[in-house]
Symmetry: C2
């Protein structure tokens, strides 16, 4: 599995992704799931990928190849588009291209070709924008109400994001939040693994502000993980204990074919 998060703030965008891939539990490797296209002063695009690695790498290869070929007005590339919306459409088109080529195999093995993508960045004077792109090539955009996207193994890391995330956070605070969300996920699912790639994009910088690979022995991450565990246990202890009451239960009704 994979866990990736993109979080759009007023001050920029923070991205984080794990690096574990597996083809069976005895065939595990480290691959970056964070892909960066940067043209300093003009645009920065960051894409996080989850799902079948053959599929997602093909999409990344198509996007990269098209950048290095001469511009073609019929086939916009990540370097020729003028808005992030258009960039998301370019990624969608690349996804659909891979699906067309692999059509027969997808029909035979639908599970093998599942994938999802987070695309964020800034082009020129436009605001930084963040999209989640589905395996069908369609996409949605982050809004102040819903400022982050998670792909892959998203459930374990959701509660803390849901409680704390707010677009007016500082970027360093947002990075801390994403790492805590990773900490919860790493503790619960072995198939999400260190190191973690983290990237901070500051609004209007038009270049990657900070990019770092956080290894297992990273001092900050270890401190964060320990401090969070202690803080949670401490918070838990200080909440009032449950004092039950012998209240009668309503009788159980009977019905069928519902899903509980």
């Amino acid at each position: 599995m994979t866990y990736c998060v993109g979080f759009r703030l007023d001050r920029g965008i923070v991205f984080a992704s794990d690096t574990r891939t597996n083809a069976g539990v005895d065939n595990i490797a480290t691959f970056s799931k964070m892909h960066v296209w940067e043209l300093k002063g003009d645009r920065v695009l960051i894409m996080l990928t989850a799902g079948n690695l053959a599929f997602t790498q093909s999409v990344v290869s198509i996007l990269s190849e098209r950048i290095s070929t001469p511009p073609d007005p019929e086939r916009p590339s990540l370097s020729s588009v003028t808005t992030m919306f258009q960039a998301a459409r370019v990624v969608g088109a690349a996804i659909r291209e891979v699906r067309r080529v692999d059509k027969q195999e997808i029909e035979d093995n639908p599970g093998l070709f599942s994938a999802s993508f987070i695309l964020g960045g800034q082009i020129g004077g436009e605001d930084p924008r963040l999209f989640q792109i589905y395996k069908e090539g369609n996409f949605i955009e982050a809004t102040p109400d819903n400022p982050y996207f998670q792909i892959g193994e998203h459930k374990y890391g959701k509660p803390i994001l849901g409680r704390v995330a707010s677009p007016d956070m500082r970027l360093g605070v947002a990075a801390k939040l994403l790492l805590l969300s990773f900490d919860s996920t790493l503790r619960s699912n072995l198939s999400v693994g260190m190191p973690i790639d983290i990237l901070i994009y500051r609004r209007d910088a038009l270049e990657v502000s900070e990019r770092r690979r956080i290894q297992e022995d990273d001092a900050y991450f270890k401190k964060l993980s320990t401090a969070w565990s202690e803080a949670l246990r401490d918070a838990f202890v200080h909440i009032d204990e449950y004092e039950g009451a012998d209240t009668l239960m309503p009788p159980v009704e009977v019905a069928s074919s519902r899903r509980g």
Copy 2:
């Protein structure tokens, strides 16, 4: 969906289950997923159920019917068995019976017949025991290393359980922990819904100690939920902010057909 937890402690067992069932988002109802068989002074058995309601109710009905029919040495019932291990086998046999009857429909609609069960309680002088029983009728037992079982929508509520749960907790503390785990789940997944049924079994009581249905407006649950949110935000604020470094990333390797 459903969320149910059973947590075996040195002092007894605490159970909690939600009550939401749905057959589509426009067809939602409240059903207890907690089933209790109690013979005061002799045995208490509690079963939590997740999955297709037609399936789980059939299993419960078979178990209940067999209790009220005359004892048959060939067909032990929850009232005739002398250990919790035997009780788990009786539940497993009931599950297999339903699957035999519905064999053709299960083959046609495998998804419809998914279900899982948590069975716990105490019989006579035996220690309280807790089992998770699979839809195939086989089962595993809780141990001090792994004192709780979750069924249904278990991921959102796992991080807090994983960090805090310990078999030497007081029962009221364990109940608080299960309710916090529910709080995280309820916030993240609409298909898990209030009210929550909670049941506390005290070791050697041989009767249900406390059983309560916690409604949406329950004062303790509201207080717990608010206090926990505040404590988490507070803990979050007090952890050092991330200070990134411009560290170069290792180059991305290329390979195929792995799953990221």
